[in-house]
Symmetry: C2
Subunit: 143 residues, 2 copies
């Protein structure tokens, strides 16, 4: 007697190359930070530089408070097809710190990193990925 | 001399009613948990019950490990229009714990909460929202 077959696809790992490609082709992610001992999640626009560092802007609010010192944060991107029940996600974990170097700030400004909302969001944060993992459910059109 | 006007819209708060409506009309969110002192973010399917509690399934992995005891977590939903630079997000923060009550597990199963991937994901987690906040950039078609 054979086991009944589960018709749903298995969740699979994305390769490091696939994770990096998706990070470079996505512009909106979600940053996870620990605030007062619990996690919070905020959408951000981000860019990736040649070396693979991620940059995003923030303003002097809750997010920045949590990142005043170099600190381990998360950045997640994903895409879903709720009709086909397919999707993918990439999670980056690493230390983030506020960029102070004027040359680097200029380079980030030239990269086109621009907040969608009014206001300066003068602080640029740089995330150095130490762990990048991704998963997908087959059927996603981006696979 | 008047200030130059920033053409970008201001980020605005979503009302509690608008946050709840979006939570009830969305089926995929992202859970933030603290793992080894840093945040991690995972997509989940979830459902909301009459009382406003959120339920999602998980399997005995990293997520569950972080939630073995009642613990404060985050769940975020969002939507973006990268062409129009509009979007919205809702963040729920609250304590989550694993559901053991068979009647409640039955009710959750009947609600249609079903993981997309193969496998049982036998553990159901219940999130009791203590803080629900939302923001949007005008122009989003869901506003």
């Amino acid at each position: 007697v054979s086991e009944p077959t589960d018709p749903r696809p298995e969740l699979e790992e994305l390769s490091a190359v696939a994770c990096e490609r998706r990070l470079r082709h996505t512009t909106v992610g979600r940053v996870g930070v620990v605030v007062d001992g619990h996690p919070e999640i905020f959408p951000v626009n981000y860019v990736v530089d040649e070396a693979g560092y991620l940059y995003f802007r923030t303003d002097p609010g809750a997010k920045l408070h949590a990142l005043r010192h170099a600190e381990t944060i998360a950045l997640e991107i994903d895409g879903f097809d709720t009709e086909r029940h397919s999707g993918w996600s990439v999670l980056v974990v690493g230390d983030a710190y506020r960029v102070a170097d004027p040359d680097l700030l200029d380079a980030v400004a030239r990269s086109g990193l621009q907040p969608w909302a009014a206001g300066d969001k003068p602080h640029v944060l740089r995330l150095l990925p130490t762990k990048v993992t991704g998963r997908y459910l087959p059927g996603t059109p981006w696979h």
